[in-house]
Amino acid sequence: MTLVIEGKALTQDYHVSAGMFAASKTVRAVRGVDFAVERGKTLAIVGESGSGKSTLARIIALIDAPSGGVLKVDGQTVDIGRKRLTSDMRSKVQMVFQNPYGSLNPRQKVGDVLMEPLLINTPMPADERRDRAEAMLAKVGLIPEHFNRYPHMFSGGQRQRIAIARALMLNPALLVLDEPVSALDLSVQAQVLNLLADLQDEFNLTYVFISHDLSVVRYIADDVLVLSDGVAVEQGPREALFAKPQHAYTQQLFAATPVTSVAAIKARVERRQLARAALSP
């Protein structure tokens, strides 16, 4: 029951300059968030735009240093504001981004995209890097023929697979996924979610999965954290949260999510027929 990642009282402030003559404002994007994720589990962070979820994702992925609070990876306190990240620590936490069309360098061949993390962080020789990259490509469901191509030759779903492959090259313990399927079609989303589930089983990965889509969250999460305006308004195990949401915001989210059950549709269609009949007798 090891905790792969733990955060306590994390805060993030942004300084917004208001021109030459006014004092700069401070916007607090994340306010005192606590969380912890066990190895092999998935924590879903749910929030809408402006909730601070992407800011929190960047803190967890060791991209930005938090303004306050403590972040522990594998029991070790990490503070990138103070000290540069070691290769070892950088390898532990990797990230998959939301936009499959923006997260791959358009001028870099896919093979190079995959080999780059190894080139930077390990003393591996070139042919070994290439073997590892080709193996990972196969693991995410692509073929060796794709090795030499540029990102614009792939579809959104394939690009996201490449992004996942890149994130796994360093054998991370934790993968931060920032809305990885939001920009994908429904059927492609299903493929990518299946892939993520398979990889999690095979490599015993821990996921921090950010999403605004409650149906996806319900499907993949073990624990859920609901973020509103930088505050973690509710968190807990998935079943408990979905069965009985406590906080008003969580309830609002549930109420707003479209329901696709046949019963709900039947009820709505009947309501509408009645309303229309009343209008034109």
């Binding site: 809408e48 429904l186 059927s187 979610l193 605004h212 499907y219 989210l253």
Partner: protein
């Protein structure tokens, strides 16, 4: 009698690698006061089909159809001037990216009044009053103040309300909404969809809702058309579609929904399409 009848619509684009068929022989019809959802994934041609009806496609597109009839008018044979009386007045459209659909250099008030004055021939005072009225109708608070705001000062949801206001200004009989809530948060999506349904009832408009989200379809549609790779796969009323889908692609879409997952893995379209012959 149907309000809009489309028969055998085909749209081809000229590209550097040859002709690309975006829409392939699609039949669609909408009755007055009806909500039709056109659902499909990217590449299904759902947006292109409606853009073709509105005449908003670039020159590289070739549009052919057996029938393209709106309220008895044959859109294929009408002149530019006659088309302009229909498109933008009786048939209007709203798009996916609300902030990008508005001109960033002008206030929203200027933009809606521009439509009212030049499209509907109102004078400045009447246009202002009508703009305030429309902003109230779409639920924008403090309309007089908001009219002076620029698009980047407003949220995505508010910009979409402005777009809807512009679209209903002429009391259209048909409103086409192309993924109007895809770029919005789920709570704002709920508000916008409720607004659209509300306006549809109040004004007696027909509404064509283009979306890739089955949830939106479930909550809003009367009838549904499912498109895949430019072709129509299935057409049914919403209850039949969800309860008893006939086409394998529709079934694939419905079972790919995470809320319908019945095990560890989500079935994919490939699983379905491989097992059955295409129509």
């Amino acid at each position: 009698m149907a309000l809009l009848t489309i028969k055998n619509l085909t749209v081809r684009f000229a590209t550097s690698t040859g002709a690309f068929t975006a829409v392939d022989g699609v039949d669609i019809s909408v009755s007055p006061r009806e909500v039709l959802a056109i659902v499909g994934e990217s590449g299904s041609g759902k947006s292109v089909a409606m853009l073709a009806v509105m005449g908003l496609l670039p020159d590289t597109a070739t549009v052919t159809a057996d029938e393209l009839i709106y309220d008895g008018h044959n859109l294929l044979t009408m002149s530019e001037a006659e088309l302009r009386k229909l498109i933008g007045r009786e048939i209007t459209m709203i798009f996916q990216e609300p902030v990008a659909s508005l001109n960033p250099s002008f206030t929203v008030g200027f933009q809606i009044e521009e439509v009212l004055r030049f499209n509907l021939g109102m004078n400045r005072k009447t246009a202002f009053a009508r703009a305030v009225e429309l902003f109230n109708a779409v639920g924008i608070s403090e309309p007089e103040t908001k009219l002076k705001a620029y698009p980047h000062q407003m949220s995505g949801g508010q910009c979409q309300r402005v777009m809807i206001a512009i679209a209903i200004a002429s009391n259209p009989r048909l409103l086409i909404a192309d993924e109007p809530t895809t770029a919005l948060d789920v709570t704002i999506q709920r508000q916008i969809l409720d607004l659209l349904m509300d306006l549809q009832e109040k004004h007696g408009m027909a509404l064509i809702l283009i979306t890739h989200d089955m949830g939106v379809v479930a909550e809003t549609a009367d009838r549904v058309v499912v498109q895949y790779k430019g072709r129509k796969m299935e057409e049914a009323d919403v209850l039949t579609l969800f309860e008893n889908p006939q086409n394998s692609y529709t079934r694939a879409l419905l079972s790919a929904l995470p809320e319908n997952a019945t095990g560890d893995r989500l079935p994919t379209v490939a699983d379905f399409m491989a097992a059955e012959a295409k129509p």
